[in-house]
């Protein structure tokens, strides 16, 4: 990373923000930001950088102090107005990031699929020969030796994982990246489930990212129509029971559709019917929360409403399609409200409207956002105000986030360094703190696996936990220390350049001097600068934000 150009851009941005602040309603802004310290000390600045983003990089603390905390927060809430050219340039080499799913399928998945079948046939033929039946090495779960097609297929997820960690480390739009991570995780899909992996690139880029500071209803609607979610939670094959059209439909699309693409040919689809998976998670995880006040009957009725929300030719990377022949056109009753017969696709839309405006949803979303930004168990009064803001703004995420990150609770002493970093936060913040230029993001992505948070590979729809206990376990903690050692002492193994900062700068600036006497003492005993940095980045002090 070129530090000087970054500093220049910051200076330019400062001007832009001052202009913006002058043209927006300052009275309202005043009311909303009155808890934001006007003359913050370094700890407050570091706190904001740790919570709105992935921690301070070289020079960040000075720049934010010059700009002012309130202006910085306002700037981060308007990411589209922040220039991020260096980030764009850094990602330019990853061509899959901008490709349509249709093109990805044609270029990577279909060839890989064909080669997988050929490999399987060849393996079977070889294994059937008596003289070849001596011990075959047992392959890992994924199976066979990789061929070119499969490597190409893996490239897509590899590039996506790299962009995620590189954005966290280097994007100027730090809050935007935090929220992309938050909302992807809230609406989690698992790239390891069959065809989901084809769609993850577009899911993050086109479904999640455009809406992270927009209206919740828009985000919810985009997710509901996304092939990634339709496949992951099985709604694409949910249909009115005993529907003759379905089996015909399925047969017609067999060439383009298989239950799990890793497998050649599951049995011909027989009885189809309602699949409740999406309906259940829609309420439990996406909107109302598990105690949000719904019954199993509501799950069934919502599942009926969403029958026919399916994917057009999935294996070729097709998009959302409403298939009226799969749809249950009867009347439904959901959370006490009647949805009249014959609504077609509007049935699902009405369900989303109902859920997006439900008071339980406001509370559930407010709680999760407050947990991300403030504390594992967020203060009740703050959750109340954030939920109220959600309701009065019709689910405007930007406004809810604003309430939280400008609140007295956010700036309270009890919130300061109260969160334990997730592995993503740890890795990105270490890269930022050390001021290194990561040349090969793949090695960082692999570290995420060792730290227990493989990117895009969180299996359950709950997503990754945002609480400390989930991330602090013996193996993962040792791996954090090992990551710190590798990044500082052997940067090439971490895919980066050598560190450009000193241990003292990290301790005094990045940690704002909050280093325990013991950590100070062990660092002082270290024999060289690299070791000092390793002992600091791997320390318990650096695990908190």
């Amino acid at each position: 990373m070129n530090l000087r150009s970054r500093a220049d851009r910051w200076a330019r941005l400062g001007c832009v923000v001052v202009l913006l602040a002058a043209t927006t309603g300052t009275g309202v802004a005043q009311r909303r930001t009155d808890a934001v310290p006007a003359s913050p000390d370094d700890k407050m600045v570091v706190h904001v950088l740790n919570r709105l983003g992935f921690g301070p990089g070289p020079g960040d603390v000075d720049r934010v102090r010059r700009l002012g905390l309130a202006a910085y927060i306002e700037q981060q809430l308007q990411p589209s107005r922040i220039a991020d050219d260096a980030m764009t340039a850094r990602l330019a080499a990853f061509e899959t990031l901008t490709m349509s799913t249709h093109d990805l399928a044609a270029k990577y998945y279909l060839p890989a699929q064909m080669q997988r079948r050929e490999a399987k046939r060849a393996e079977a033929a070889a294994a059937a020969k008596p003289d070849m039946r001596s011990e075959m090495p047992a392959p890992a779960a994924a199976g066979r030796p990789e061929n070119k097609g499969m490597q190409g297929e893996r490239l897509v997820l590899a590039e996506l994982a790299q962009q995620k960690i590189l954005r966290a480390a280097y994007s100027e739009r730090q809050l935007d990246e935090v929220l992309v991570d938050f909302w992807f995780n809230h609406f989690n899909v698992f790239a390891g489930k069959g065809l989901t992996r084809i769609y993850v690139t577009e899911y993050e880029r086109d479904t999640i990212r455009p809406h992270v500071l927009g209206k919740f209803r828009d985000l919810l609607g985009a997710v509901a129509e996304s092939p990634a979610m339709l496949f992951y939670l099985d709604n694409w094959q949910s249909s009115v029971p005993g529907d003759a059209a379905t089996s015909m439909n399925m047969r017609r699309r067999r060439a383009g559709v298989r239950q799990e693409a890793m497998q050649p040919a599951p049995a011909p689809t027989r009885k189809r019917g309602i699949n409740e998976n999406y309906a259940r998670e829609l309420m439990e995880l996406h909107t109302l929360g598990v105690d949000g006040g719904y019954a199993q009957k509501d799950v069934q009725e919502i599942a009926r409403a969403f029958t026919g929300w399916t994917i057009d030719v999935p294996r070729q990377g097709g998009g959302f399609r409403f298939e009226s022949r799969m749809h249950d056109s009867g009347e439904k009753t959901i959370l006490g409200k009647t949805i009249r017969a014959g609504g077609g696709k509007k049935d699902g839309e009405q369900v989303l409207d109902l859920l997006a405006t439900h008071p339980s949803t406001a509370r559930f979303i407010a709680t999760k956002l407050a947990r991300r930004f403030v504390a594992d168990d967020p203060p009740a009064a703050l959750v109340d105000r954030a939920a109220a803001r959600f309701k009065e703004t019709d689910g405007d995420i930007r406004e809810v986030v604003r309430v939280i990150i400008t609140s007295p609770e956010f700036f309270a002493a009890s919130s300061y360094r109260a969160k334990v970093k997730t592995p993503l936060e740890f890795v990105a913040s270490a890269v930022r703190a050390a001021g290194v230029d990561v040349r090969n993001g793949m090695l960082l992505a692999q570290s995420m696996r060792q730290l227990g948070m493989p990117l895009y590979m969180c299996q359950p729809p709950t997503g990754y936990s945002d609480k400390a206990e989930a991330w602090v376990n013996t193996g993962a903690l040792l791996n954090r220390m090992n990551f710190a050692v590798t990044l500082s002492s052997n940067p090439r193994r971490a895919g980066s350049t050598a560190t450009v900062v000193t241990e003292d700068q990290i301790a005094s600036v990045v940690l704002a001097g909050d280093v325990s006497p013991t950590t100070r003492a062990t660092v002082a005993r270290a024999t060289n600068e690299q070791q000092k940095i390793a002992l600091l980045l791997g320390s318990p002090d650096f695990q908190k934000r």
Partner: protein, 411 residues
């Protein structure tokens, strides 16, 4: 099979209690004290093994009718026929290495077993089996982790629950501590020639951490590293001439044996065995499935041989997400089915028996007219192992929503 150990234990205890114990015997008693720790080793056959060719119902005419090219011949002439177990069921011929376990009464099989959930997705079925809550996707933790939580352990070590895998499997995820270790020889701080210095520095930093989660976990981590170092995992020779297959699965089982013998407090272990999804050219007595079954059974046989007398306190249990269709498909393979077979092996197992009610394989006896029907919920097997072997009496929290009261009687 286990009498020598019983003698040793009783005899040595007697000597110790009289105060005459020579030091080597006192050591042995200590060792046995830890060895009395019950251990459960679970093996997940990911990809859905063809249970009908693993545990062959050769007494079923319908089996042969449905599988003209894949069926395993009835026990009899030659090494390519089923290994007779009880006159009706037989082991796949490449699983012959497990026959001694069956004969000594230490191997039980549960057939027509699985999840009543209808899914035929590998992902969902594995998820349901590992969370042990079929049909409920949002269960946050795995059944093995809930066991750890439900069964208080006064002297739990960081090695109480270990998956020999790069990643913690769903079965072990949850609130209780559990370790995923790819290679035990590499567990610890890795800082080249400075390792000792770096390790002791980190150790003192975490000992002084104010945050209780970081403090406690840091202490556990360094205890674990030291414990393992003492056990010297780099130096390991399997006992009794045990010969593990040179495969990821064999390697994982070998490391589990190492941990058990190092007495580091291992109670539940997890190993994976992959590549069971044979839609095409599955093979019969020879071929792809046969090779995978050889790897599986030679690994288990080596583990049992290596652990010797310790098997009295150990149970090995296999599982797979669902079975495969009774009838072979057009590609000489088998498609996703329903019921399957599980194996439960160990010194305390009442083996030599195929448990469960056999539903038959005639078309009208099949599930949906095509698959082996399920007569035993897989959770009944888990439940019995947790109760009968690990000794947890109230398993309601481990298997929420499971109301089956059927007892197989494997313990």
């Amino acid at each position: 099979m286990f009498s020598r150990r019983m003698f040793l234990k009783d005899g040595a205890l007697a000597l110790v209690s009289l105060g005459f114990a020579p030091t080597f015997l006192a050591r042995t008693v200590e060792g046995l004290g830890s060895a009395r720790q019950k251990v459960l080793v679970t093996i997940f056959q990911r990809g859905a093994v063809d249970g009908l060719n693993m545990i062959v119902p050769f007494g079923e005419a319908a089996y042969y009718a449905a599988r003209p090219s894949l069926a395993i011949a009835k026990p009899g002439s030659g090494e390519n026929t089923a290994v007779d177990l009880d006159g009706f069921f037989g082991l796949h011929p490449r699983m012959r290495s497990l026959k001694p376990l069956w004969e000594s009464g230490n191997m039980a099989i549960v057939h027509a077993c699985g999840s009543h959930d209808e899914t035929r997705s590998h992902f969902d079925a594995q998820d349901y089996m590992e969370s042990a809550t079929p049909g409920v996707k949002s269960t946050p933790d795995g059944w093995m982790n809930r066991y750890l939580h439900a069964q208080e352990h006064r002297k739990a070590t960081p090695f109480r629950a270990v998956a020999l895998a790069q990643q913690l499997p769903r079965s072990l995820q949850g609130a209780a501590p559990a370790l995923a270790i790819g290679q035990i020889a590499q567990f610890g701080i890795r800082a080249g020639q400075n390792t000792d210095m770096v390790q002791s520095s980190f150790e003192s930093e975490y000992a002084a951490a104010a945050n209780s989660v970081l403090h406690t976990t840091g202490r556990e981590a360094f205890d674990a590293v030291k414990m393992l170092k003492k056990a010297d995992p780099a130096q390991y020779t399997p006992a009794n001439g045990a010969d593990y297959p040179r495969s990821p699965f064999g390697d994982a089982l070998k490391q589990i044996a190492q941990l058990i013998k190092a007495d580091v407090g291992l109670e539940v272990a997890f190993a994976e065995s992959g590549n069971w999804d044979h839609h095409a050219n599955e093979g019969g007595a020879m071929g792809i499935l046969a090779n995978r079954l050889a790897d599986l059974s030679q690994g288990i046989a080596a583990l049992v041989r290596d652990l010797g007398d310790r098997m009295q306190d150990i149970v090995v249990m296999t599982m797979s997400e669902f079975g495969r269709a009774v009838t072979e498909n057009g590609s000489r393979g088998t498609d996703h089915g329903h019921g399957n077979a599980m194996m439960v092996m160990g010194g305390a197992v009442r083996g030599g028996k195929v448990y469960g009610k056999w539903p038959g394989l005639k078309p009208e006896q099949r599930h949906d007219g095509r698959d082996l029907a399920i007569t035993t919920d897989f959770r009944a097997v888990f439940n019995e192992v947790v109760r009968g072997h690990l000794g947890l009496t109230n398993t309601a929290r481990v298997f929420p929503g499971f109301t089956g009261t059927e007892r197989l009687g494997m313990f």
